[in-house]
Each structure stands twice: as structure tokens, then as C-alpha cells.
């Protein structure tokens, strides 16, 4: 271009300013600043990028056009979960985290960023009330990381390497944990029975010759990958504690308005994701991890994340905030800190704090009850369809798995068929198994609609199947 490139995001592209600044530093051209970048690695051409939309109106039209090719769950009846959940986000939550002051702040000091410190201290404190534990971290990246770190903490603290995995874990989460701990820890799996931990088998393994004395932690997930709420946490904690190990519970905090927090059942570290507490689905792009422990330095000093604490100031009665035990962190000690700390997910923590403050004890209790009720209702409606059964008999919160083989259907066949009706019925977990998720946003009418659609499909299939003496391959029938 012959006209100078001036851009609204780069004020000093204004030609007069640029010239004045060059003159001020005594440089002929920008090129002088790059003398240390040798020619052999200079690009020497313009980057090969698409033509930009420098006018904001044009950019908006372009991006909105792309996003318009999405069809979100507001236009589908969605029963998808498996890690990301469609809970209601109160408007006040979005209002607060979209405030420029919070959205664009970063790493200010406890003085000019008093508000950030207080908001995150409050997040820690509100989560702590929900979980009945005294220590919660500033959020780490996501529940996967939180769990991987929680297990690593158990390993570092004990000097042991054995982790006994007693629940059905979300496969992606397990993948993440496995890679993260691979240098230091070994995972030992104990299969579940009817959806829940097999305490006897766990006890046997923990005390087996193979593992005796080297168990760092027993790892429970509740709700499990399939939504089962673990009822044996106390027993598992006792097994762990008996051998000097700890109990790590990975969980979703959404149910603790009505369910007993793991800490009350003997858990030592509780960890998980807060996406359910005030974050939109964002195509799976809005997660944050929490780690909660008791007020015990042997745990706290193993935590890599920042921990904000309340402190006094020179004014009596005034609250100040700051970092607790800074010397744990990689910011203080580089590789001698615990794992590392970096930009993670603070804003989502503020969101979760606002959400909990809005919900209050009664809101969280009502939410828990609604989730339990709607889950049970959906289980009833689907299991009432001939040939469809639940894959376990445990108590479920929000998610459960159905097996549709008895109805002559495949899981993928159901998904493909219902899609044409605008329904996403769930996540395929096997040839004939489907993971169904309901939240407080799944009304009775929504659930009935799902059940009716599945029933109609099952009946058509059964009819066709009996007509044809056909096999259980239903995919061809589910256009």
C-alpha cells in the first residue's frame, strides 16, 4: 500500500507520531532495532495470511458469518454431558466477569488489584463452604489438571508411587492424568461393581504384596464417568488411611447443596471442575479446576497454585489480601517450586464465586434436588421403554447410561435418528450404550420428548425387526 498503514489498535502507526518517536531515539528506521536478528533467520517476505478485515464492520460480518454456521444447543434439545454441562448461568455472573476491570486485569499487586484478590479469596471461601474444607486454590486450568496435580501431591507428600483408581473415570480425564503423572506415579485400576467402587477388592489390592507400603492415594470419582454417586467414600477413606495413604476424590461440586461433601466422609483431597458453577458450555472451552484440602501444611505446601489469604493492614479491622506461602511456587523458585504456576483460569473462579453467592444455601439445595429428581425421572422414562435398561442401579446425579441392545437399537443409530428431529440424545459410550445427561434446564416436557422419540424409534425398529427377522444392526433404519 502506498498510503501509510494506520490501525485503531496501534496508535503510534500515526505517521507523525512514528516519525517523532524515531527521531527521539535517534533511529533512521525501525530496522535498526532488529540488528540482533541475523539475516539467516529473517523471514524476508510478508507473512502469507488471509487478507484482513480492517474495518470493524467488515470483521464483524466475517466472524458472525462463520459463527452462523454453528447450530447451538439453544436450537437443539441436548442431553449431552460427559465433561461439559448445560447449566443455567445467571445474568449477574456474566455481567461481573465481563466488567472491563476484571476481564482485562492480570497480575496487579494486592493494592491496585484489591478487588481481584478479594473476589478470588471469596471464591476460595465459598467453595470451601460448599465442600466443608478449609483450603481451596485459585483455579488451575481444569478438572483434569486439578486431579493430576492432586494425585501428584499425594505422591510427593508420601514419597510413594501407587495410585489405586477405584471408579469409572471419564476416558479423556484418565488420558490426561496418565500422561501427567507418568514420570512419578503408577495407576492401578480396580473395576467397579454395579457402577460403584468395589471396596473389598480395593482393600485387597491395597494390602497386596504388590502394593503394600507404596500406595500414595486411593482415587475416587463421584459422580463417576457414568454419573453414579459413590456411596462408599467413608469405607474407602478408612482403607486408605489404614495404610498411610490418602483419599483423593474427584467430583463435580454441583450436587453438594444436598449431598454430603466428601470431606465429611474422610476425603483428604477433593478436586474437580467448576464448569457447572456458572460457566457456559463454550464448546468445551470454559473449564477450571479446584483442589481443596484441610488446613494442613503437609498438603498445602504441595499445592502449586496460588492461594490468596486474608491479612491485616495498618488500619485496624481492615482486610488486606496476599499470597499464602509464596515460596511453594515456581514463580518464587523456578524448578524447585511445586510443579508450576501460570495463567490459568482466575476469571472462571470469579464467575463461580458470583454464582455461589447468588444461589446461596437454598439455591444450591434446590438445584441439587432438581437434578436428582430430573435424573431419576429421565431414568424412569427411558428404562420404561421395552428393551432399554439402565447399566447400573446406583444413585445417579445428572448422568446415567442406558443399554439399548434389547430394543434392537444401536447407540449411534439413536443419535443419528434423533438428530433429524433436533435432539442430541446423549454421548455414545459403546455399541449399544448411551450416556444421557439432564440438568435443571431439561424440563419434564423435554425429557418426555426424548423418551417419546426413543420409544417411537424402538417400536419402529421392533416392528421392522420382527417383520424381517432382522439382526440387531439398526443403523440402516435410522435415517
Amino acid at each position: 500500500m502506498t498510503t501509510p498503514f494506520v490501525h485503531p489498535y496501534i496508535p503510534n502507526t500515526a505517521p507523525a507520531t512514528k516519525a517523532a518517536m524515531l527521531a527521539a531515539v535517534g533511529a533512521e528506521s525501525i530496522e535498526e532495532f532488529y540488528v540482533d536478528v541475523p539475516a539467516e533467520i529473517r523471514l524476508g517476505r510478508a507473512l502469507d495470511l488471509p487478507a484482513p478485515f480492517t474495518a470493524e464492520a467488515d470483521l464483524t460480518r466475517h466472524v458472525e458469518g462463520l459463527l452462523g454456521r454453528n447450530t447451538p444447543t439453544t436450537q437443539r434439545l441436548s442431553f449431552l454431558g460427559a465433561g461439559t454441562y448445560n447449566h443455567y448461568v445467571p445474568a449477574v455472573v456474566d455481567e461481573v466477569i465481563n466488567r472491563s476491570e476484571f476481564l482485562t486485569a492480570y497480575a496487579g499487586e494486592p493494592y491496585e488489584d484489591h478487588g481481584r484478590f478479594q473476589a478470588l479469596f471469596q471464591y476460595q471461601s465459598l467453595m470451601a463452604e460448599l465442600l466443608n474444607m478449609d483450603v481451596v486454590n485459585v483455579p488451575t486450568y481444569d478438572g483434569f489438571q486439578a486431579t493430576a496435580t492432586a494425585l501428584s501431591m499425594a505422591g510427593r507428600r508420601s514419597g510413594r508411587s501407587g495410585i489405586v483408581v477405584v471408579s469409572d473415570v471419564l476416558p479423556d480425564k484418565l488420558s490426561r492424568v496418565r500422561d501427567f503423572v507418568s514420570s512419578n506415579l503408577a495407576l492401578h485400576h480396580v473395576p467397579t461393581v454395579d457402577g460403584l467402587a468395589d471396596a473389598a477388592a480395593v482393600a485387597a489390592l491395597v494390602n497386596s504384596a504388590e502394593l503394600a507400603g507404596d500406595v500414595a492415594a486411593i482415587w475416587v470419582e463421584t459422580p463417576s464417568y457414568r454419573g453414579a454417586v459413590e456411596s462408599g467414600i467413608r469405607a474407602l477413606a478408612d482403607i486408605a488411611h489404614a495404610v498411610g495413604a490418602v483419599l483423593v476424590v474427584g467430583t463435580d461440586p454441583v450436587g453438594y447443596g444436598v449431598l454430603t461433601p466428601p470431606a465429611d466422609q474422610g476425603a483428604d483431597i477433593v478436586c474437580g471442575d467448576i464448569q457447572s458453577l456458572g460457566l457456559h458450555q463454550w464448546y468445551g472451552g470454559a473449564h477450571a479446576g479446584f483442589i481443596a484440602v484441610h488446613d494442613d501444611p503437609s498438603f498445602i505446601m504441595e499445592m502449586p497454585s496460588r492461594l490468596f489469604g486474608l491479612e491485616s493492614t495498618t488500619v485496624p479491622g481492615e482486610y488486606g489480601f496476599g499470597d499464602v506461602a509464596w515460596d511453594r511456587t515456581s514463580f518464587a523458585l523456578r524448578e524447585d517450586g511445586k510443579e508450576w504456576v501460570g495463567t490459568a483460569a482466575a476469571l472462571w473462579g470469579i464467575a463461580a464465586g458470583v454464582h455461589l453467592a447468588l444461589m446461596g444455601p437454598q439455591g444450591m439445595a434446590e438445584l441439587g434436588e432438581t437434578l436428582l429428581s430430573r435424573t431419576r425421572y429421565a431414568q424412569q422414562q427411558l428404562a420404561a421403554i421395552a428393551g432399554i435398561r439402565l447399566t447400573d442401579s446406583a444413585l445417579h446425579l445428572r448422568e446415567f447410561e442406558i443399554d439399548v441392545a434389547g430394543a434392537g437399537l444401536s447407540a449411534q443409530g439413536i443419535v443419528d435418528a434423533l438428530r433429524s428431529e433436533g435432539i442430541e440424545p446423549g454421548v455414545v459410550t459403546g455399541v449399544s450404550t448411551l450416556l444421557v445427561c439432564v440438568t435443571e434446564l431439561s424440563s419434564q416436557a423435554d425429557i418426555d420428548r426424548l423418551a417419546e422419540a426413543v420409544r417411537a424409534l424402538a417400536e419402529t425398529t421392533t416392528t421392522t425387526a420382527s417383520d424381517n427377522n432382522a439382526s440387531d444392526n439398526t443403523e440402516e433404519k435410522s435415517a
Binding site: L66, P72, V96, E109, G115, D179, T260, I300, D323, W326
Partner: protein, 539 residues
Amino acid sequence: WDEPLIFELTAPGERGVLVSQTEPGVRAAVGDVLAELPAGLRREKPAALPEMGQMRVLKHYLRLSQENLGADFNIDIGQGTCTMKYAPKVNDRLINTPNLTAMHPLQNEDDAQGILEIIWRTEQMLAEISGMHRVSLHTSGGSTAIWTNIAMIRAYHEANGEGEQRDEVITTIFSHPSNAAAAKAAGYKVVTLYPDADGYPDLEALRGAVGPRTAAIMITNPEDTGIFNPHVKRWVELAHSVGALASYDQANANGILGITRARDAGFDVCHFNLHKTFGTPHGCGGPGGGASAVSEAMTPFLPGPLVDRSVGADGVRFTLNADLPQSIGKVAPFYGVIPTIVRAYSWMMALGAEGLRAVAETAVLNNNYLLKKVLEIPGASAPYAVGRRRIEQVRYSWQELFEETGISSEEIGIRAADFGMHYWTSHHPYVVPQPFTLEPTESYSMAELDEYAAVLAQIASEARENAELVRTAPHNQTVHHTHHDDLEDPARWAITWRAYQRKHGEALAEGRAAARAAGETPRADVAATVVAADAVAAV
């Protein structure tokens, strides 16, 4: 504002938001689900969350927001290495649509063609910017992107049967601490090299450090000093010569966009911080967005799934490919921080190649302009590479001023906040004494740079003429000087309000009673007589 802790605002019975209730038909079908909970599973005491009307919750957090200093408010050049630039508002508006917020990650790909295309396009652009073969956007911060890079390096060596042998990672002291920390977390021994006398990365030191045990070098360039390693290609070659890989921390890439690329220097992996270089907001410390870019040889180890583009009879289609047998697996849920990715995409599309180059050039112009301004302040210096230009930032020192006045860099930072400015010392350890690191990026006008430098000059002058004024700062902030010792003592630290009440409840009650006796109204009482002087917003 003199805003209490939210727990102090509770009023029993108030509600902040009502929850969708179970329908009568559902209740009839399922009965009393709470009464039927298995033994021990029903929570006995309600969670001690505050009970507040909606407006009061909102007011509380809005007031807190005003006690915070975002990049949108100050001349945010004091957090060097962090690239605090303008995050365009249009991008915030573009992402806040149900077309993104209400997308579930496991929806049919046909319903997600828009976001999949944006992910793919963003990866392509970052590949071009880095010269790399392929990019993953799965991580949500720079440090975890660094982790992902070392995890891929580990997987690479393991795949080649050298996993056991190569147990060392080499970094430099002016590379971001997360390189050292992530390598350590991945099981490596960390070797840290110091610069030569002129502050340049020391090629000879590297030559002495590499060997058959070296898994990788992990370095930042330009380093946190703002100095570009002119021998960076030699560094990479030296690593390769012993079978090690080279990992490039591009957190400081802002000044070299379109100038030089990671692959051009031979690096095998690199990462970008979308929230730094690519103009997305920092969110009080995340979520950000990490991009891990790799050479063709490293591509099999990328985390999955990958977004692939295919052209079929029905036109272009984007799909998720999870069939990656050598992949290190998942590094995070699903496909990355979507709000960050879409913002970064929009930012790049608002600028294009010419714009990105203008970003880099203006950032270095601003940096060298500010360098000149700061060096004009008596007591300030820019150690190393004296008289030479810098790229994206400069690590300065107040050592002279400290020796003259006893005022430390940290004290200057607290005083700077009195002027509505954010200022950060630097990463530990303080190799440069009394350090501060300024990174003006391309976002601030000449007048703003002048203003920031004038504040530093003012404080330096205060340090000489009235050191007590600086030492006793803050004077004009939301909160007064804090007693940090509380937070290092396990007996006294309080990481949550419940812990504080348990440990300090008595003192708290006493303090309030004393204040009341003295005619003051303690914070937890009605805040009526607290004058606004104690209640000003952050600046």
C-alpha cells in the same frame, strides 16, 4: 468503597436467584428423592453460603470491580514479559453469542462447522507465523503449553528408545521460569545457564552443557531482558548435534511477528500465548490460551483430537480426528479455550500480515522510545548490552537509586499504584538487582508512554527528597499497607473465611468491639460512618 466480605452481608432468607423447580409430574413419578438418599449421602447442614438479594450481590461485585485496575484503565506497561495489550472490545462482543456459548463440544460436527473452521484457520495462521507444520490450541495458558511441548519431547525420545537416557533439560535464567518448572514436573533434571558479561545468552556455556543426556533446550528469545539471542540458530544446531530437541518459548514473540520465525531458526516445538501476543484479555489471570506449534517430525505426538479440513463432493468440511496412535493424549478437556481462540482469530483477521508486522515494529519502537525515557531518569539503568537496542521489553534496574536512597523496586511499585499505574518488579531470582521490566507493546500512545515515564521520574525524585513518602505508600488506594507475615505462618494464615474465623475470630470480635468503643463503626457493622475517603475506588 469500603466493601465488606460477602459473608458479612448475609441476611437470612434473602434469595439471589431462583432455581427452576421440579414439575409436579416429575415429583409424582420420582417421590422424595432426598428422603430416599442412601445412608450418609444427605448433607446434614446447609452450606454456609451467604443469603443475599440479587441487587446486593451485583453491587458487591461491581464495587469490587472498581477496586481493580484492568488494562482497559491504566497504562499497563509495567508487567513486562506479560504483553498487556489492547484486547479489542469487538472480539468480546463477537464471542458472546449463543452460537458459541451454547455449543456443546460433543455435538455433531455438522452443527459445529463454524467453530471448527475458526480453530483450523487459527492453527493455520499460527503455523505460518511460526513456520511450523502443525499447531494445537488445546491448552489454556502458556505454562501448560510449555508442559505440552516437553511432554511431546518426552514422548519423542521414548518413541526413539532414548527416554531413559535423556534426563536433562537445559534452559537459561532469563527464560520464563515455567520452562524450568515444567521440565522438572515432567521428570527432568534442569540445567540453567547464565548469560555472558554483556547479557547475551552464552553459547559457550551451552556447548559445555549439552550431551547425550540432554533431552532438550527450552529457551525464550528475546529473553526477559529484551535481548535477542543473535546466535539462536547455533543454539538449536548445538542441541540437534547431540540428538536433543529445541523448544522455543515464544511468550515474548510480540516484537518479532513477521520478522523471524521459530522454524527458521530450526526449533522443533514452540508455543505462543494467545492472551499475550494475540490480543485476548488476561481475565485476572486466565483463562488465556496456549498454542503449541511443532515441526512435521513432532506432529504425531500432538494432543488430540485434531481439526482436519477435507474437500468433498459437498464442499469443504471440518472434522475432528482422534485417531492419533502416538499422541500424548489429552492435555485438557476437549479443544481448547474457545473464547480465547475466537478472539485471537478475530484479532489476527483485523490486522493481517501488514498489521502483524506493524504490531511488531511499533512494539519495538515503543520499547526503545521508553528505554530512552527511562534512562533519562537518574538512578535507573538498563543492565547488559549497554547502548544496544532491545526488542519487546527491557529489564531495568533501580540499583543506583537504591544505593542512594534505600528505596527498593518493590516500594517504587507500591507508590506507582498511587498514580493509578501498575508496576511489577520482575520474575525471581533477581539476577538484575532492584529490577523492573517494562513492556510497552504496540497498544499505548506516545503520550501515555511519556506519562508513565514521568511517573517513574516523579517517584525517583520523591525517593530522594522524601523517601518516607515512598516507603509508607500506598497513600491513595483501596487498602492500606498489608502485614504480609500473616500469610507465611501456618498457624495464622487464612486461605478461606471459615479458616479466618476459626483462627482469628476472637481477635476479630475484639477489634470490632474496640473500634466501637472508640466511636468508630467497624466494617461488619452498618458502614454508615465510614467516610468515602476510606472507600475510594482503586485510583
